[in-house]
């Protein structure tokens, strides 16, 4: 098959010596490659920017709760917008609706034993499941202790609950053997990812996170600055799709 004539990048570029038994079409096909570099134009797989409209995973009630959490983790102030305005909830929603939320790349075979801290997370529940259970339990906790959902509490009250979770002092009594402190860690990790990841994933709106620290993003060439020691970098950030 001549270079570039195939219908998709998964075609076979097989030499005369390649085995016909391997040459079949399919999305996850094995390939036999010999006699040439199997490169053809436009073969890259660029990431698809998320559409910011609507929710793919969260329910309306969950959205309100997570918006309240990310605005306490990254509060709006004179330094930057807060987590909600930066799109952290959109980011987390899309992550949970995708491969990350489903643990699809992880080893998820049983038996699921209770492990040691050195052995990492051993639960059967995926991040999507952990958010669903955790957010429900968080509101149950807020209602039974303060009579309101988490999002309706004052900032200081919300902080007290988040601090209690972080320090392991509040137990949300999660199902499936889930740990309340680990739930907080998951939300904190994903919020920070959203604030500092490329904006194409739905967070870091206006490159707010990058501007906060002075990270220039996807510039990819600093040859003119490597030897300018202790000199501020003069240019603002760019993202993969050029802007925010």
């Amino acid at each position: 098959m001549p270079r570039g004539s195939g219908p998709s990048r998964r075609y076979f570029l097989a030499s005369a010596s390649a085995l016909p038994i391997l040459a079949y079409a399919g999305e996850t096909a094995a390939r036999a490659i010999s006699g040439a570099l199997p490169w053809h134009p436009f073969a890259g797989e660029p990431p698809k920017p998320v559409n910011p409209a609507g929710w793919y995973f969260f329910t309306p009630e969950e959205v309100v709760t997570v918006e309240a959490i990310v605005d306490r983790l990254i509060p709006p102030d004179q330094l930057s917008v807060g987590g909600k305005e930066a799109g952290c909830v959109v980011f987390i929603d899309r992550q949970l609706a995708g491969s990350f939320g489903k643990s699809s790349r992880l080893y998820m075979k049983p038996p699921f034993a209770k492990g040691l801290p050195t052995q990492g997370y051993q639960g059967e529940s995926t991040p999507a499941g952990r958010y669903r259970d955790g957010l429900r339990a968080l509101n149950d906790y807020a209602r039974s202790n303060q009579g309101k959902n988490f999002a309706q509490l004052k900032g200081a009250e919300q902080d007290a609950i988040l601090t209690g979770l972080e320090k392991g002092q509040i137990d949300l009594k999660l199902p499936h053997g889930l740990n309340s402190q680990a739930f907080f860690e998951l939300v904190l990790q994903n919020t920070m990812e959203g604030f500092f990841a490329d904006p194409l994933y739905g967070g870091n709106k206006g490159m707010a996170g990058w501007k906060l620290v002075g990270f220039p993003g996807a510039r990819y060439d600093y040859r003119d600055h490597i030897e300018k020691h202790n000199v501020p970098y003069p240019h603002g950030p760019v993202s993969i799709y050029g802007g925010a």
């Binding site: 096909a29 509060p75 992880l106 500092f196 620290v213 993003g217 600093y222």
Partner: protein
């Protein structure tokens, strides 16, 4: 039932660094070579595309280029009293996947081991007595540095390595590493341009009487045409190196150095998304006849070959030997058996984190191996007589990962979220650097690899089980190094300094390093090594096992340079010795 395929001269498992080197050398010798690669085909233009490679979330956090645990996981425990459980996500270390293997995502540190490190047991016994190393299971490698020098040189010149020689044919050269073994010639490229933090470190170290030098980097300081005629570009200090493929053709990888030549040969073929299940032995168990593999559609094939090369990541080579019955499994209760013996890691954790005010370290202006370092406390450069350990660490300071999901330092005591966190993060991003120590990892009887009794992969085969904790010797080394780091850190005049060292209880969760060594070690004696000095199995003479699995211990340095050198060494032995007279190259 596996379908039987036509015979090949050489069958290779895995097309990373060692697979590419062996395939290139053996096709040059006229052999018909096929490589069976579990992961996908990858090339720079399509898969490490400059338009979307600078994506921290996709490549560094979600680990797009790495082996997915769903395909193959490993179990871990600290000692035999614990029950090993699967690492459901790889995080302490990250095995590569696909064409190029770990050669795609490495930083580019391209080191040589010191001459004494191939004969550690003999050397340390002679200098300090046998009692000093009694708690360790050290062995000589059965090879000398002098034998390997030309192979190191070949790998460095294929990779295009930026650095400064410290020892040219025995002559100590100013500006290089004065403690290294003699080199036959200078590095192919001059050192990378050094960033601010590294320059501060080098100056402080020099004033303390130490010997700083630019670390050897297979990131190109200038455009380069390698010894195979493949052109590479100048490093742009983009800051997307470790965990990324290089979009600039500036980091040595099989894609940028060997594959452009190898792939054009008609006597080479790679079959991607095909996973080797087993090496099949002949009835007498002394030679292998074929490998069985499964393709992405689930169909099994049997590929016969005269020579079988295990070129997977070291840990996977060990697993393949255990699954195939090649050699004798190691038993920690008796110390007998060789496959799985002397598994070592790398003793990270010694660090001095430095915080300043009013600086601009520009941590995003970075390259993989962009560092200044020193070996004054590495290996046996310093006298261990009055100390309670052996081994040491390379001490260094550089900028390689300034991306802000992973790199957001704050001074100790800072909250991890909220307004105070944000303020400290904004203030500290430009004001932090660190001096780190990459420490040696020495073998002990209880650290080893075997097959897990419970957990299986997607094909129903047992996972590899890692039983490992940091030996007390290595922890004492790490503690000692942290006091040296504190000295250097203090001389760099930070406003605040935080010093740490490694602790007992290897934790598989925080990333440490992908420098797993041993398990199929090389040596002069078949009772304490799985392969001979030519990386040939003592038990199955047409099987060679490449990679860091051959290391008898790991040193305070990145392993890839020695992995590459051993690959050229083994290829030469196959070409010049084995092909003339197939069979055991060293009598057992």
């Amino acid at each position: 039932m596996a379908q039987l395929l036509p015979h090949k001269d050489v069958v290779i498992m895995g097309l990373g660094w060692t697979g590419a080197i062996l395939a290139q050398e053996l096709t040059d010798a006229g052999l018909n070579v096929v490589a069976i690669e579990r992961g996908p085909w990858r090339d720079t233009a399509s898969d490490f595309n400059i338009g979307y490679m600078p994506d921290e979330l996709r490549f560094a956090v979600r680990k797009d280029l790495f082996l997915q645990p769903a395909l193959e996981a490993m179990t871990m425990r600290n000692d035999v009293s614990q029950t090993a459980l699967p690492m459901r996500d790889y995080s302490s270390f990250l095995p590569g996947s696909g064409v190029g293997g770990a050669g795609v995502h490495w930083n580019g540190f391209n080191w040589r081991f010191f001459p004494n490190e191939f004969e550690t047991k003999t050397h340390l016994t002679k200098r300090y007595g046998a009692k000093k190393i009694a708690e360790l299971q050290l062995e000589d490698w059965g090879i000398t540095y002098d034998e390997l020098e030309q192979s190191y040189d070949r790998f460095e010149y294929v990779c295009g390595t930026s650095g400064k020689a410290g020892n040219l044919k025995g002559q100590i050269v100013e500006g290089g590493n004065p403690f290294e073994g003699p080199r036959s010639r200078e590095y192919p490229l001059p050192p990378l341009k050094m960033p601010y933090a590294s320059t501060m470190f080098a100056q402080a170290a020099k004033e303390l009487g130490f010997h700083p030098f630019p670390l050897p980097a297979s990131n190109m300081s200038k455009p380069y045409v390698n010894s195979l005629g493949v052109a590479m570009g100048e490093c742009t200090y983009c800051g997307y190196c470790e965990r990324f493929g290089c979009a600039n053709y500036s980091k040595a990888a099989p894609q940028t150095t060997i594959l452009p030549v190898l792939m054009k040969k008609s006597n080479f073929e790679v079959r991607t998304e095909c996973e080797v299940l087993k090496v099949n032995l002949r009835p007498d168990g002394k030679t292998a006849k074929s490998v069985t593999y499964i393709d992405a559609a689930g169909r099994e094939f049997e590929q016969p070959g005269d020579i079988i090369l295990l070129c997977g990541y070291g840990l996977m080579n060990v697993r393949m030997m255990l699954l195939s019955g090649i050699g004798h499994p190691y038993d920690p209760s008796t110390g007998k058996g060789q496959v799985g013996r002397n598994y070592c890691y790398q003793t990270q954790g010694s660090a001095a984190r430095l915080f300043y005010e009013g600086k601009h370290f520009n941590p995003f202006v970075a390259s993989g191996a962009l560092s200044s370092g020193l070996d004054d406390f590495n290996s046996d450069v310093f006298d261990h007589g009055p100390l309670d350990f052996v081994g040491g660490a390379n001490v260094s300071c550089g900028t390689s990962n300034g991306r802000p999901i992973g790199n957001r330092p704050t001074p100790p005591g800072t909250p991890r979220w909220g307004g105070a966190w944000k303020k400290a993060t904004a203030e500290t991003y430009q004001n932090a650097t660190a001096v780190g120590a990459q420490g040696s990892s020495y073998p002990v009887r209880g650290n080893y690899l075997d097959l897990d009794p419970t957990y299986k992969d997607r094909h129903g085969r047992p996972l590899l089980r890692i039983t490992f904790d940091f030996p007390d010797n290595d922890l004492r080394m790490s503690q000692y190094l942290s006091t040296q780091l504190a000295k250097i850190g203090k001389a760099m005049n930070p406003k605040q300094m935080v010093v740490s060292h490694a602790a007992k209880g290897w934790n598989s969760v925080p990333y440490q390093t992908t420098h797993n060594t041993g398990g199929a070690t090389m040596g002069a004696k078949p009772d304490t090594s799985a392969v001979n000095k030519f990386l040939q199995s003592w038990d199955v003479s047409n099987v060679f096992v490449l990679g860091a699995s051959a290391f008898q211990q790991n040193e305070g340095r990145n392993p890839t340079g020695t992995v590459g050198a051993l690959a050229y060494w083994a290829a030469q032995a196959i070409r010049e010795r084995y092909l003339k007279r197939p069979g055991a190259l060293v009598p057992a």
